[in-house]
């Protein structure tokens, strides 16, 4: 999943394009290692995968002792460009302030650029209950669900996170972590439809609008199963957050397959559909809200993003404390700090995603009213009501659905 | 136009050929005729233009000016592959990817001659290598490669066969052997051979006619004996064998003999052996033509005599003894004496006079550089 560029990067469009491409290349380039010599691919992950064969969550050492009081530090693995950054001082201002206030040093690492790849890297150690060198990890809903399900996380002590009550109501109860025992949202985004305003003057109101003959060969959809299939399911009247099964999933997949084989859908893409919107190859897409915000900021207000009438998907990245972390209290202090509306607003102004913290909008109003009014950063209740979190899948479902989805998109 | 079937033994004519590289002439207004079926050598030091001349005949260089005729046909503007000419390259240039047999058959195949492999085998027999037909060139010794290169050229029966320093890469003994061999083959096939070399002995051993080249021009052309006995320039006198050249001035002429004053001594030179018969000349004599006269020895008839001088060096070489004699006002002269009686007859430091038959004396243009054409030690090998 891509992360749009924050406002902090240089305004020169060429430089921005380069930065963006470099970002895009990070996730691809690590994979091109796999491509170059498919024979010796992803060895670390592969060897880790071999370890999976053993006893999942088996040889767990006892609960880790929390050494937070003695070791005033916390280590946080996050996605790239996902925290406010000051180019001049080359520091993260909000982190600096956290250290000032609490005396806890933060070791911040932009370690994650792909849920699966990161999971592959740390899964072996997590299974053995070892310290993976991080006290906070940031993973997308479905992966967060898997990690929690496998017992790879420590429960959060809400007494240490009073600000957790600021979590938006719509995010307070999620199927993969009922009651938010193990996770708290970092940022969220919408999956919906976007289109070129000049070329598609009537706009896209429903997913079915994408299948209009005049858009043949100029439509792209996401290679993220939960967004693409989820939007089609919503279109078909399925509540993706609710109870649904094979029938609903495969009915939606059939639509996708049909639109691919008819040539209506040009390509199924991960993080690079935005380039195709810019080049004009794609006129309408299933895409992510944050990307469109940035695209409009960089290239003029040429595109519009909307949740389809039948509803859109809402995904989040979630902060969790891995099993082996010896700095749980410090981690909780950090999470609490970022749930302070003022701090959350500062981050939101930089990363342009949906801010999950109640009150951040009001805080934002104080220094950037235009951002406070951006419904893609601070969606109103009506919008939120139309966005749905794809329900957690069982391991068996996840394997099977993914398998089918990948084969439909040519893999 | 010389068709590919032009028959062997055609004559080769170069008519006022000039070749310039970046404005500098490598071959300068050169004309020569190589008679059909002759063994012709172009002899000269490196850089004299002999290889450029050869390459122009092969069609590998285009003359800047002049014409080239083979068997009467003007081939100046034809390409290398259109000329009835084949070359034995200095480093043989055998095709490493082909067998010996296929190397030899290459030209025949290109001209779609009948039975290329059969004829290639015959050519290999001519050079006595039929047993190596299936080898690759890099499995052969230098001498064997040389023979294959020769077979590869000869098999095509070219009007003119060009040899570019063909023996240069061989050791001395093998080279002598191949000289005889080449001559035999040339006699046997009767082709016109043009042989480029810097080795005067090689040229004289094999060639009917030798052209001595220097600085893009032919200094002198003739049979080996002619060139040796009667050089016409200081370059030829020095490059072909060795010569003692003495500066002098003509003081008497008009008859069959020219009288020259050489450092106060009077020397006679046959008029037909003198390039100039007046003014400044260089009087020349080959070292082996000089006799050492000890005190009191009589002067033979019809001899020029200079000296006395002092023997400054004696070196015994087996066949002969070589002396250096320093004659006041003339400089140092070399003398070769056949070891007919065995051992050195004259000792170091002895005072001797030098005598030479008048008919062996020659005179060159006094403007010639005395040292021109003296073979540097590293080139004389």
């Amino acid at each position: 999943m891509t992360r749009p560029l924050p406002r902090g990067v240089p305004a020169d469009p060429v430089v921005r394009a380069l930065v963006r491409a470099q970002l895009a290349s990070r996730s691809v380039s690590r994979r091109s290692v796999l491509a170059a010599g498919a024979g010796s691919a992803g060895v670390a992950a592969l060897l880790a995968a071999c370890g999976t064969g053993g006893t999942p969550g088996g040889q767990r050492s006892g609960p880790v002792e929390d050494r937070s009081a003695d070791e005033k530090q916390v280590r946080w693995a996050n996605w790239t460009l996902y925290l406010d950054y000051d180019d001049e001082s080359q520091t993260y201002p909000t982190l600096e302030r956290f250290t000032e206030q609490t005396g806890i040093e933060v070791d911040y690492a932009e370690d994650i650029d792909d849920n699966d790849a990161y999971y592959g890297k740390v899964q072996g150690q997590l299974a053995n209950g070892q310290d993976i060198g991080q006290d906070i990890i940031t993973l997308t809903d479905w992966m967060a669900g898997r990690v929690i399900r496998l017992g790879y996380t420590q429960p959060l002590d809400k007494a240490n996170i009073p600000n957790a009550s600021n979590l938006l109501p719509s995010l307070q109860d999620v199927s993969f972590d009922p009651g938010r025992e193990h996770s708290l949202t970092w940022q969220s985004g919408f999956g919906g439809v976007a289109w070129n305003k000049a070329q598609v003057p009537n706009g896209i109101r429903t997913v079915s609008d994408l299948w209009a003959p005049e858009l043949a060969g100029r439509v792209e959809v996401l290679s993220e199963m939960r967004d693409t299939v989820g939007l089609i399911m919503l279109e078909q009247g399925v509540d993706v957050a609710g109870e649904w099964g094979d029938d609903e999933f495969f009915a939606a997949l059939e639509v996708l397959e049909q639109q691919i084989s008819s040539g209506q859908i040009r390509q199924v893409k991960g993080n690079s559909y935005a380039e195709d919107l810019v080049s004009g190859d794609a006129l309408a897409v299933i895409g992510w809200s944050g990307d469109i915000t940035v695209l409009n900021f960089e290239n003029g207000e040429n595109w519009e993003f909307a949740l389809p009438e039948a509803g859109g998907t809402l995904w989040s990245d979630n902060l969790m404390i891995p099993v082996g972390s010896p700095h749980k209290a410090n981690a909780e202090a950090l999470i609490d700090y970022y749930y302070d509306p003022e701090v959350a607003a500062e981050v939101a102004a930089y990363v342009n995603y949906i801010c999950p913290v109640e009150g951040a909008r009001e805080a934002m109003d104080a220094f950037d009213p235009s951002l406070a009014e951006n419904p893609l950063i601070f969606p109103d209740d009506a919008t939120l009501a139309r966005s749905h979190v794809f329900r957690a899948l069982s391991a068996e479902e996840e394997t099977r659905y993914n398998d089918e989805f990948q084969s439909v998109i040519g893999n | 136009m010389a068709g590919p079937d032009a028959r062997s033994g055609a004559d080769l004519v170069l008519d006022r050929v000039t070749k310039e590289f970046a404005g500098v002439p490598a071959v300068d207004d050169l004309s020569l005729t190589v008679p059909a079926g002759s063994f012709f050598a172009l002899l000269g030091p490196s850089g004299c233009g002999k290889t450029t001349t050869l390459r122009m005949v092969a069609g590998l260089e285009r003359p800047s000016d002049g014409r080239i005729l083979i068997g009467g046909d003007d081939v100046t503007h034809t390409r290398a592959h259109q000329r009835p000419v084949n070359t034995v390259f200095q480093s043989y240039a055998l095709f490493p990817h082909l067998t010996v047999l296929e190397n030899v058959a290459f030209g025949l195949r290109r001209r779609r001659e009948p039975d290329p492999l059969g004829r290639a085998r015959q050519a290999l027999e001519l050079v006595e290598l039929p047993h190596l037909a299936e080898r690759r060139p890099n499995q052969l010794s230098g001498g064997q490669q040389q023979r294959v290169a020769l077979a590869r050229a000869v098999v095509n029966n070219p009007a003119v066969l060009l040899l570019d320093e063909p023996l240069g890469a061989l050791d001395l003994k093998l080279r002598r052997q191949m000289q005889v061999e080449l001559k035999r083959i040339q006699t046997e096939v009767g082709l016109t051979f043009v042989h480029v070399t810097h080795d005067q002995e090689e040229a004289m051993t094999m060639a009917d006619t030798v052209a001595v080249m220097n600085a893009g021009r032919i200094e002198q052309l003739g049979s080996p004996a002619e060139l040796y006995e009667m050089p016409r320039t200081a370059f030829v006198a020095n490059f072909l064998g060795q010569s003692n050249l003495l500066r002098g001035t003509v003081v008497e002429n008009g008859g069959a003999l020219v009288g020259v004053d050489v450092g106060g001594a009077r020397v006679r030179v046959p008029a037909e052996r003198a390039v100039r018969t007046s003014g400044d000349v260089l009087v020349g004599v080959r070292p082996e033509k000089l006799h050492l006269l000890r005190d009191g020895e009589a002067v033979p008839d019809d001899c020029n005599v200079v000296g006395p001088g002092r023997v400054t060096d004696v070196s015994f070489t087996g066949v002969s003894t070589q002396y250096q004699v320093e004659v006041p006002a003339l400089g140092t002269l070399g003398v070769f004496v056949q070891n007919l009686l065995g051992g050195a007859a004259v000792g170091l430091g002895e005072q001797v006079r030098l005598a030479c038959a008048v008919r062996h004396t020659f005179a060159l243009d006094g403007d010639d550089d005395v040292a021109s054409g003296v073979v540097a030690l590293d080139e004389s090998a």
Binding site: R31, A38, V43, L46, A49, G53, S279 | G107, Q139
Partner: protein, 309 residues
Amino acid sequence: MSIVSALGHGQGGGGTSPAVAAPRRRARGGAYLLLAPGIAYLGLFFVIPVVALLVTSLYVPVPGGEVGQFAPAFEWRNYTAALATYWPQLVRSFAYAFVATVAALAIGYPMAYVIAVRARGRPFLQGLLLVLVIAPFFTSFILRTIAWKQILADESFVVSAIRAVGLLPPDGRLTATGFAVVAGLTYNFLPFMTLPIYANLERLDPRMLEAGADLYADGPTTFRRVTLPLSLPGVVSGTLLTFIPASGDFVNSVLLGNTSTTMIGQVVDSRFFKVSDYPTAAALSVVLMVAILVLVIAYVRRAGTEELL
């Protein structure tokens, strides 16, 4: 002929003379020691992973287990199942790689020839042309390919021009097609084709060409009978250096293709990272490796022993 000797095959010429053979033999024991770092490195980063790959390729899912959870087994049907499902992608990969290799040869050989033979003796021009061949490597592979997409976009003047001359139908396109993938592969691997051929032609003795001309071969014939056969080692290296990575490549297919141009590398990636189906990913990798090995051996054999053209 082994692959290694095909790659290292020089231009013939001077065989080892007996004079140098003796000391060389004495040095041999020490020379083998020089291989130690290479063997250690390859052992660590090639042999062990390959063994891990082979072992993983035979695993079976744990019944009712978590995503990506497998147990050791000897399930050879993983291979038949993978082949049965993904043979189209496998065949497509080799077909694309083959076409790209042929295209790269058709473009790269003349380039290498001009730089090495025609520009011989003009070092500045040679240097300039070589830099131009290598220059694309100065920017990232991804950036170049992304730039390509912009150049060949539906609205670009390139596509408009091609449509205008009727080579593409009015709604035809270049990106998101198999053609674009092959073109991208060709472009990205072109230097791997050009440089070995250049290196080979550069050492080509010009007297070989003169000998050809002297023996009645005109320009094209000399090329066919002399230059080309002598440059075959370079062609073999270039084609291998292009074909092998191109068959396993998927970046071009991801960026320039669409769902019907999927190459096997993409499948391995998706099996591995998206579906966590490690055994299938491993089995496909093994199949790819073996298939490439077989193709390469067959190719090198042929190139090595055939009487060249």
